[in-house]
Symmetry: C2
Subunit: 200 residues, 2 copies
């Protein structure tokens, strides 16, 4: 992989070993005991922790389990950022054609996952059902909307909320005759900061 240009910045790999070691130490365990409970050899643990070798996903899974952690705990890199937005000075997006508008609440920083918008949904408009990665949460600031997840229909009124796995087929619409304001929050990149999803 080293000769492969596209992987030049080898992201997580550099941190993986040390992270595993830190975790093991935090639990006060010896390489031997971890090796045993993960079904691997001591020497190998040593190699992995020092980044001399990368474990297979299977081994990493065993390791994580032995360390009572989640695989993903070892594969992320931290970063710092923060941003506030204020009611009056918020930039509003409108999709041409539709009369929905969005106010963006979240910033983008390397590896940020959380995104949030206030959506002003006009009466009647109905979006295509979709499914994709991530999770979402709606909180109704004003008005009412109907949410359909798989075959489950729910009416949310002011102050209500819903939280679901985006892999379920979902859609929502404003069934009333007045505009609704929704605070949407999720792990899905709705802004297309990352090169945007192309739908046919």
């Amino acid at each position: 992989m080293l000769k492969n240009g596209s992987t030049a910045r080898t992201p997580a790999a550099l941190e993986l070993g040390p992270a595993l070691r830190t975790r093991r130490k935090a639990l006060g365990l010896t390489m031997q005991s971890v090796a045993d409970s993960a079904g691997l050899s001591v020497g190998f643990i040593s190699q992995v922790e020092r980044g001399l070798t990368a474990p297979s996903l299977a081994s990493l899974a065993s390791l994580a389990e032995a360390l009572h952690a989640d695989i993903s705990d070892f594969l992320q890199q931290p970063f710092a950022f923060s941003q506030a937005t204020h009611t009056n000075s918020r930039h509003t997006y409108s999709v041409t054609g539709a009369d929905v508008s969005y106010e963006r609440l979240t910033a983008v920083f390397p590896n940020s996952h959380l995104h949030s918008v206030i959506v002003h949904e006009p009466p009647g408009r109905r979006a295509e059902p979709v499914r994709h990665h991530g999770e979402e949460m709606f909180y109704v600031i004003d008005g009412e909307i109907t949410v359909e997840i798989d075959d489950n229909v729910d009416v949310l009124r002011k102050g209500d909320s819903i939280h679901f796995d985006s892999q379920r087929i979902h859609t929502a619409w404003n069934h009333t005759t007045q505009s609704a304001s929704i605070l949407w929050c999720g792990t899905v990149d709705v802004f297309g900061d990352a090169p945007s999803p192309i739908h046919r």
Copy 2:
């Protein structure tokens, strides 16, 4: 790995392929283009997506990058779940001693990362500055609060919001004489549903 008792439940592996495929489809990409940008072969992509083979961490990293996603997005087992909460019927927590109260908005499903609460913050109360993994977002439903991130102080009023990396040292308090209601949303497990990390 098959003979290894401790890995019996081979967790993520089973879902990894499909997850990658879902993501690729969501982006409207072809195996060829993904293969190219990840520096891998088409056939291999096919094998991986159908779970016939497991990619190495390095390849998985390239893949994730090509799919504009984070490795960890693919290593969690998806599960289907959704839950709505309604204003009147929401369970309210109160921490004994303090007079803050919380209304929980999110559900827990395996590997869910998104958590959300409505926090009713009484005047004056001030929490310890902390830093930890994850991201957070506040939205002020009612009242006002002061948020301090690193050395940056911000006053948020009704309708304002803030989004930040939890690794920055942060704290917030209600500087007014009236109660404030905050919608808090983040990737941090504030409920302690997941087995908690062991400190020291």
